[in-house]
Symmetry: C2
Subunit: 203 residues, 2 copies
DNA sequence: CCGAAATCTTGCGGACCCCGCACTTTTCCC
DNA sequence: GGGAAAAGTGCGGGGTCCGCAAGATTTCGG
């Protein structure tokens, strides 16, 4: 299952991680506009030119971590037993991903998301990454339900709705004052979506 | 309701439209990377410097038409009678917007969407515009249902789901071969979402 | 173990983007 | 009509991103 991964590949991966990580860290520390590609490259120990061999923009470097996380979610969904309903699988995978053991999400991720959703330059790239994730998730759902992403709306609608639910839940969590836990928000959002978003009874 | 709009404002709007329109047209004609800000400005009859007084990037200029269209959708929803259910209002508004009188959408819009969803540089900006629209739509829904965008997940979930449904339907329509009409796709997508996306029976 | 082939890194140069600033032109409104 | 407010313009510069062509490193067959 896991490839040995030669020296070459390993180094490439390390460089990529180092660049992405450095970009995120520096941007959180001093604000995106005060970070030059030059700084990121220096922090990762490569030349500026090399930076652009890995990422085509600062934004992409920063959001690549978000992309990775999303891919893990899809993997989790794929690993769930086929006996569950699609919604069950997704809910469990999402909870495991965004609120493992009901613990508080790690502050480093929090800062990253906050940055990506507040800096105008990053928002677009962030959403683009999300849409890539949704495509992959849609594929996984299609396989599970024996539907076809190219023909049926179903798998893509589910993927897009899941993305929407997680995004809304996350955003609500980020802006909550006083703070509230993320897990229940994600559960609530997904449950509402799976129920067809009925109009709430006016209180 | 409608402000008279002085000469100043009118000219500003004209310039903005001219720039946005020129950007889209040129990009469709010869591909985004073969269009310089200089060209767009020239085509709209202003100086290159002025371009950036209106838009902070080429991408923003191109997607601004998408943003406008989305805002019209929100307006349509606002104008629907309060006696309808939220889903009814949205469905009717969306159909009116995307497939008026069951007529084929105008080819110029088609080309624009196709461009915005295929050029990597534009996708991010396109999605960013969509998210702005969703925020405004969420606000409209909140007012209609007496919920609070800052507290309740409901209005934002609906807005985001609607965005997802329309996006998936549009994408399916763009890639359909042979072509199929957009109206039914939008109806189908919104209906599935409003039903909670039940798993389709395997055929 | 070696040397050719494949791959990665790097520096250079250049086209382009975006913006701050100061200046000119146009529109507004009394 | 004339001064204030706002829009358009030209210039300059810091940055980004990429193509290209060496140079450095890893891989792999023999």
């Amino acid at each position: 299952m896991e490839e040995p991964l030669g020296l070459r590949e390993r180094k490439k991966l390390e460089t990529r991680q180092a660049l992405s990580w450095a970009a995120l860290r520096l941007a959180v520390e001093r604000g995106l506009e005060n970070v030059l590609v030059e700084d990121i490259a220096a922090s990762a120990g490569v030349s500026p030119r090399t930076f652009n061999n890995y990422f085509s923009s600062k934004a992409e470097a920063i959001t690549s971590r978000h992309l990775d996380r999303g891919r893990e979610l899809t993997e989790q969904v794929r690993r769930r037993p086929g006996t569950e309903s699609v919604w069950e699988s997704i809910l469990e995978a999402a909870l495991a991903q965004y609120s493992p053991n009901d613990r508080v999400p790690d502050p480093e991720w929090t800062a990253g998301v906050r940055l990506m959703t507040s800096e105008p330059t990053l928002i677009g790239e962030f959403l683009r990454a999300s849409s890539v994730i949704e495509r992959e998730l849609a594929q996984a759902i299609a396989e599970r339900t024996r539907t076809d992403v190219a023909v049926d709306l179903y798998p893509r609608l589910v993927a897009a709705s899941v993305g929407a639910a997680i995004e809304v839940a996350t955003d609500r969590w980020l802006t909550a004052d006083p703070p509230i836990p993320l897990g229940p928000l994600v559960r609530d959002a997904l449950t509402q979506v799976a129920a067809g978003l009925p109009e709430p009874s006016t209180h």
